[in-house]
Amino acid sequence: MSAAVTTKTKEPFLRIAKREGLNPWKAWGIRGIALICALLLCALFVFALTKLNPLDVYSSMAKGAFGTTRRIWITLQDTAILLCVALGLAPAFKMKFWNIGGEGQILVGGITTAACMIYLGDLLPLWLNIIIMVVASSLSGALWGLIPALFKAKWNTNETLFTLMMNYIAIQLTAFFVSKWENPFGSNSVGIINPDTKGGWLPEIGSNRMVSPYVLPVAIVLILTVCMFFYLRNSKHGYEISIVGDSENTARYAGMNVKKIVLRTMLISGGICGIAGFINVAGASHTISTNIAGGRGFTAIIVAWLAKFNAFVMIFVSLLLIFLEKGASQIASDHGLNNEASEIMKGIILFFVLASEFFINYRLIFRKKDKKEA
């Protein structure tokens, strides 16, 4: 037997070759299969812990995310905020600028929004204040993103860690303002800003109280999504971003001003993250705390990456992740576990999809079976 197996030129059992231009539908198919595998593993994991029928678990998750009209709209609003951050990060990541500072950019956007609500909320007409808040929050987010980009452009300073450090500085800055604005004194939290006059709150649309507060945030983000899709796909800027991301040298050779592109893209990236902070503070939580970003700056990276920076696909990915989050907290409250399970599921899903990229980019070639053996 052993003589039959050994051949003269030893060919490895498994070879890897680069795959050229896989049909995009097939590529999405592979990612879909990976997603299904991941969900199966998650179901198994939940089953091992709770001994419940996984189908029941998923239906109880659906109940948690979409059980009532209000829940549906809260889910949509959370999806919108996450999506907004992802929209901000997408151009930076497409450019291979590792902006993991989304968290900080959201926070500074939130701080400026809260400042406008506190100092101008009862002073200015709402429409004027909203314009000021949008401009101020996006400018502050953009500034927070621009600082690491400036150093990157000038001295090639590592932006991954720079943006990360900026997160912590933003967190402490938020803590500083929280204790400055705390209400009531000594509570170490700001509380709901202008609870009676609703000064600076995003206006409610429509009369159904279950729906009205959530419409505007979702609408704003949807408009942003459409803009970002076409910005990345059809504009000259979007083209430049993808070239710089693929190869900086190519971009330079083609006469592009790489530094300018990096700075401009980070302005946009930070600005949109700042707007996410604005939506969160003025539209959803109506308060400011160090938790308002709540890890979205990191989760949004997953959204952008999984969707391959396609703004429309990002809608589904962020909906999926928020669904997991809401669902996990539902099973947690139903079965007395804690709701961190959604983080584990997020991790598992992303691990699978990351692994699936390999099968999209490469082809496995198995050793041909020996004729004698056959």
């Binding site: 090639n156 991954t160 450090m165 402490q172 990191f298 399970a341 983080e343 997020k346 390999f358």
Partner: protein, 337 residues
């Protein structure tokens, strides 16, 4: 100047520094192979929760059997669990990035999210899974780890400064020194650095690039896992809090790698310095002023500002010996040349 509070400050700085020294040394070893593992906070989480769970189940079994937990067994179980869980995290990372060539940044961030999820999930529900025995606490194990050298810790301020810690604090320093010798003086260390600088050349010289990447990442993550262990048994004295402190520490460990310019020996004083900066807001009395509560956050920015400062400085000066491994963060695929 108040000597007692100065000593207290240094002590808490050393405890803090030890946690990040483990993380930092592990990450240096990993980065020397060209793998930029942003999953260090996640691996520290994994190491922390695994040691907590291991020690918890052992102590629980002992209580039920009615015997006193054995201190040496406590240490051994927690140690192996922490190192093993960390290394497992490293294995996931290496498999995805080295074998499947996934993007290192995204994989690392995922590992951090995953590790945080696992740790906070089990940290919060361990108690319930074990049948509701109240607050999770591994007092015997924590005690065993915090055993100090007898007599030496009684030598006044000197003893308090140098001998009031469990053995893990000294092990961290030993690991840092050994790693410096390994990277500088041994053939395997030289090979590892070659892999990180230029894997294609290393490959041509007959070095097994894949093996080096896997081993350095797994061992590095194991060491980072020990940081999680130290966090659990000493920093929080054998309990679990879902407050994300360990994640902050993990990121500081990653930042410290840059601060040390990839030299393990610098990690020893660098991590203590970070500890001093981190706790500074509690000890400003030493400099003759007290902080109001609202200004504490400004002082809490210090370690991050220091990291940014070093980050900018090293990138401006561009000294050759202070640069990261040339191939850091890049995948290596032999056929892609």
């Amino acid at each position: 100047m108040n000597i007692d509070s100065l000593i207290q400050w240094i002590q808490s700085a050393i405890i803090f520094g030890t946690v990040i020294m483990y993380g930092c040394c592990g990450e240096i070893l990993t980065e020397k192979s060209g793998n930029l593992n942003l999953g260090i906070p996640g691996t520290m989480y994994l190491g922390g929760i695994a040691s907590l769970a291991g020690a918890f189940f052992y102590e629980n079994a002992c209580t039920q059997a009615g015997i006193e937990p054995n201190a040496i067994l406590c240490i051994l179980i927690a140690f192996v669990c922490a190192f093993g869980a960390g290394a497992l995290g490293g294995l996931i990372f290496s498999f995805l990035t080295t074998t499947l060539r996934a993007n290192q940044n995204v994989t690392g961030l995922t590992l951090t999210i995953f590790g945080a999820g696992i740790a906070n999930f089990f940290g919060g529900s361990l108690n319930k899974l074990a049948g509701g025995v109240g607050q999770i606490s591994i007092s015997s194990t924590s005690e065993a780890f915090r055993t100090t050298v007898p007599f030496l810790d009684k030598m006044g301020s000197f003893g308090k400064l140098f001998f009031s810690y469990g053995f893990l604090a000294y092990l961290a320093v030993i690991i840092a020194i050994l790693m410096a010798i390994f990277l500088k003086r041994s053939r395997a260390g030289l090979n590892l650095r070659a892999v990180g600088e230029n894997p294609a050349t290393a490959d041509a010289a007959g070095i097994n690039v894949t093996k080096y990447k896997y081993l350095s990442t797994c061992i590095g993550c194991g060491i980072a896992g020990l940081g999680g262990l130290y966090y659990v048994v000493d920093f929080t004295k054998g309990t679990w809090a879902n407050d994300g402190t360990i994640e902050t520490l993990g990121w500081l460990a990653v930042a410290l790698v840059i601060f040390t310019t990839w030299k393990p020996l610098n990690a020893i004083w660098g991590s203590y310095l970070f500890g001093m900066l981190y706790w500074m807001y509690l000890y400003t009395g030493l400099f003759g002023f007290t902080l109001t509560r609202s200004f504490q956050p400004i002082f809490k920015m210090l370690p991050y500002l220091a990291t940014m400062f070093v980050l900018i400085l090293t990138s401006i000066r561009k000294k050759k010996e202070n640069q990261p491994p040339a191939n850091l963060g890049l995948p290596y695929f032999r056929e892609e040349r």
